[in-house]
Symmetry: C2
Subunit: 339 residues, 2 copies
């Protein structure tokens, strides 16, 4: 009962055709109806499945997409991974996951490994690419899409939410809520995402003749965000509202405000996050936050990547997707403010 490796040659023999005929049937090239039928039947009988590795050897392109991600403790990323993987599976691709700490050397090593596997494309999430690496991928004909992060030097596709607009929208919201001392715990300055949100936010305040009482880089890290909260609230002019660069840090901020400093949210301090991860909707936090539309971002990422795989000449594009502000209980909602 040993069903040893059954190859296209076995199928060919049983179907009474040549091996190339079998190959053509399974790779979608043209073949006469009766050939197709004979081959399909024989393949079915023998339990034949084309060997994707051999296929990749020939074509130089595997059906594997490399996903590079720095960390998975921020709930946004595992969810993105889940959706990306599902969407790509539906298209016949599979996802090779690489963890890469966000330093240059590690990313370089990882990208080399990926190129060894002749991946059809690369998605980076929460991880930066150097321009040099970008170029080498381009040279190797491997399209790259950055997910939830952009890059200034052009030539690379990216999918993000409309971070500048989002930051501005939150500024408007907090001003309209009557807050007078507004602080910002920013995302990591080394990321476009963090910078853009901050810029939109500061500009939005400026448009109302205000400026933040404090801006501290939280590095997308809970502990650093907690310390930033202590610093902001212990000064002579403690904030009455804090915009936090993502939900993951916002939870730490709320924990610190309520548990450690004994303050009420939103009575004493309003808190607004960014992402709208599922946890933000849970009763314990009930976080007002700007939603990043995960499904549409994933969809755009897959479309862009597969598009570039199918047509290597297609130019890179930066896609920004707008998201709504989700009103919950962690911030005062101005009268008549609509969802």
């Amino acid at each position: 009962m040993s069903e040893r490796k059954v190859t296209s040659l076995h199928v060919a023999r049983r179907a009474g055709v040549s091996q190339s005929a079998v190959s053509r049937v399974f790779s979608g090239a043209s073949a006469s109806p009766q050939t197709v039928s004979k081959v399909r039947k024989a393949a079915e009988y023998l339990g034949y499945r084309p060997n994707p590795l051999a296929r990749a050897m020939i074509t130089g392109k595997s059906k594997i997409i490399g996903l590079v991600v720095a960390y998975l403790d921020n709930q946004f990323y595992p969810l993105a991974l889940e959706r990306l993987s599902n969407a790509l599976q539906d298209q016949g691709y599979h996802v090779l996951v690489f963890m890469a700490p966000n330093d240059e050397g590690a990313v370089e090593k990882v990208v080399h490994d990926l190129m060894d596997y002749q991946v059809a494309g690369i998605i980076t999430a929460s991880v930066g690419m150097t321009n040099d690496l970008t170029r080498r991928c381009a040279d190797a004909g491997i399209p790259v899409v950055m997910f939830n992060r952009g890059q200034d030097g052009g030539g690379i596709s990216s999918v993000t939410s409309a971070n500048v607009a989002g930051g501005a929208q939150i500024a408007e919201f907090l001003v309209a809520g009557g807050h007078k001392r507004i602080a910002h715990i920013a995302g990591w300055k080394g990321s476009s995402t963090g910078r853009d949100r901050q810029r939109g936010f500061v500009d939005g305040l400026a448009a109302n003749g205000m400026e933040p009482v404090a801006i501290i880089d939280g590095h997308f890290d809970r502990e650093i965000a907690a310390q930033a909260t202590r610093d902001i609230m212990s000064g002579s002019k403690p904030a009455d509202a804090i915009f936090v660069g993502n939900d993951h840090m916002a939870f730490a901020v709320m924990d610190t405000l309520r548990g450690e400093l004994g303050l009420s949210v939103p009575e004493d301090v309003s808190v607004v996050g960014y992402d709208d991860v599922p946890l933000a909707a849970w009763a314990a936090y009930d976080l007002t936050t700007l939603r990043q539309p995960l499904n549409r971002m994933v969809e755009a990422t897959v479309d862009t990547l597969l598009g570039q795989i199918g047509d290597p000449a297609r130019p890179s594009q930066r896609i920004e997707i707008e998201g709504p502000l989700i009103l919950r209980g962690s911030a005062k909602t101005p009268e008549g403010w609509t969802q």
Copy 2:
């Protein structure tokens, strides 16, 4: 500047040796010191990297480990994925991730896909294998390790925490805390993990002459767990303590108790979870829970899998790792109870 694919043949030419010599140097076979040196030098100069796909074609085994996982919203799994991926990367392996809803057909399809890639091994997390599938993997010489789930029909390796003992320990803890009406929202009955915890818990209560006032299957799902909470608390004899089958559901239980039913934890109801995901330590929940030692579980999983890859004759083993009860604020801690 076009650094086209550089193959072992190019290296061979430049080093003045045969292609087989190059192959032997990079696959660890024997070669004279001067050959090794010449080859290494030429390879370095040309930027040669062995092609893992071609290598896999020949040997029939790639350096890829398939990881099958059902969902990533329970924080325990992304963390496991992160650690597993890192540990395997250190050993020169890479992780191909497959999402598989927990029904038989989907898992089967996924495993077939994995076998097509000639993976060196498979790890399943939060996903069940049928005995038939197990056998087919064994036939194909692909070792499988189930992570955080066991299987009754032997012949397959698994790594779990000591779930029965853990359940019993929680029973002792709640009894010692003076609770009189203890309920259990169980994990999915279709999983060994859920069943074992429940069994240990019920037996532990019985050893103290008690029995649970309610047992409801929460299916590891937030919404179902929330409904179970309502049911348990709305009866004529509401519980004064609830053991929840994992942290993920326990958070929903706490949200429901506090937000919806207006009860205090632990004053009105003690809540104990299972896993000790990072979120359990956050101030908003501060959940007393039994820790699954993630690092040691990952370590054991990798060891077991690589062991079986290295020595196919090695018998399968079921590893259970004990974890401590982590005392926090969501449950009354009995006098003198030690961490």
